[in-house]
Point group: C2
Chain length 224, copies 2
Amino acid sequence: MATDTSASAPPEHDAIRKPKPQARTLQRREDVLRAAMSVFGQRGYNKGALVEVAEQAGMTHAGVLHHFGSKEALLVAMLQYRDGEEAAGVPGRAQTEGPAFLGHMLDTVEENTGRPGVVQTYTVLSAESVTEGHPAQGYFRDRLDGLRDKIAGVLAEVTGRDADESEVRDDASALIALMDGLQVQWLLDRDAVDMPRIVEKVMDELVDRLTTRHPAPPFPRPQD
Amino acid sequence: MATDTSASAPPEHDAIRKPKPQARTLQRREDVLRAAMSVFGQRGYNKGALVEVAEQAGMTHAGVLHHFGSKEALLVAMLQYRDGEEAAGVPGRAQTEGPAFLGHMLDTVEENTGRPGVVQTYTVLSAESVTEGHPAQGYFRDRLDGLRDKIAGVLAEVTGRDADESEVRDDASALIALMDGLQVQWLLDRDAVDMPRIVEKVMDELVDRLTTRHPAPPFPRPQD
DNA sequence: TCAAATTTACTTATAGGTCAGTAAGTTGAT
DNA sequence: ATCAACTTACTGACCTATAAGTAAATTTGA
């Protein structure tokens, strides 16, 4: 929250050569954030201890508190950092357009297969966030909401439907749910599910169905 | 509040009375288990405190420990109790056959809409269980595995396919993932998703596809 | 030398588990 | 039927970790 970074204006020549105190600080903060991802991912937020985060970042837990103020603030910072990192990972980044976005999602699923830590961080924290007064509740609510909008939009664009159609929105929700749900199964048993294969197939079917049965849903819904 | 046990003097020589003191004990244990479901559901296992469980069951935390030995054992007992309860809720119960099972699943989704507590208990604990050394890990692994088998079997039966086909198994995994994933979204925002509607539609599509394209998958997979 | 970074040393909570004791049964021999 | 011997179901007090947060001292770097 409070961007207490009242620090001086960042010197534009902050090359890698001269590690100014603040340049170095940024690196340390990042170390802490990475450590937080690892610890909160492996243990969850509640059980994850600041001492362990600190250790992995090479300092004491008081040092971590110095940088982030509180455990809660650290979690929030970590979540934002993770978003930024994810966005930065993609070349075209930002808002990938149309079908490319679906492809990008699939790529992510494939990549995730090689980094259970990241998957676990997301899975554990998102589920934990539904508990009473969890600090990440707003974050995940917003994230899911935004993702749903985004996917519905892309789906509409790809299939020539309207993003407001309940069928399209339902499919967006379903796609997100599928990916999240698969992660839990996969984390509990890596060999039990082939995430990329399943997601790809579902995406194909879904786009196909939406495209083929163009204007209206195929069956009348008695209840509604 | 505590020792109201002295109240109704149990008629010792009155025929079909519960012979053992365990009759009452069983009830108390059940109280504790229900309390555990509520507390662990709302706070998760790690943050859920024994004192709170105890309070809700009308005893002290030492009393809870007397019955269950440890917090971990309590969780395991709770999970088993939950299974038993769920099974008991269904009349025909045990192994519902064929298409009836899919209907039963859908009914459950519909019922769940009215009891967020139960949904939350499952959602939070299953995700939490993927963390290092979590006591419920085995439980959820087994549960998901069994459910996958069951659904694959039912799907095979309904559509005339083989339960060993990877497509059928994938669909079983996907269906479970869908339901679990939707729960997270729903718990974070009740109005964001209509769980029963989505699950019903997906089930329909899924059965339809599996039935229509009978023997073999429709398209050759270039990469594999 | 000044300020930020970081440590050391505490404080304050919380929480699981142990333990001795007690009240209310239960059982068995007389 | 009664009473001693024993068991069960607890409670209250206590112990021990663990963990977050704070304050003051110390180091480090420009």
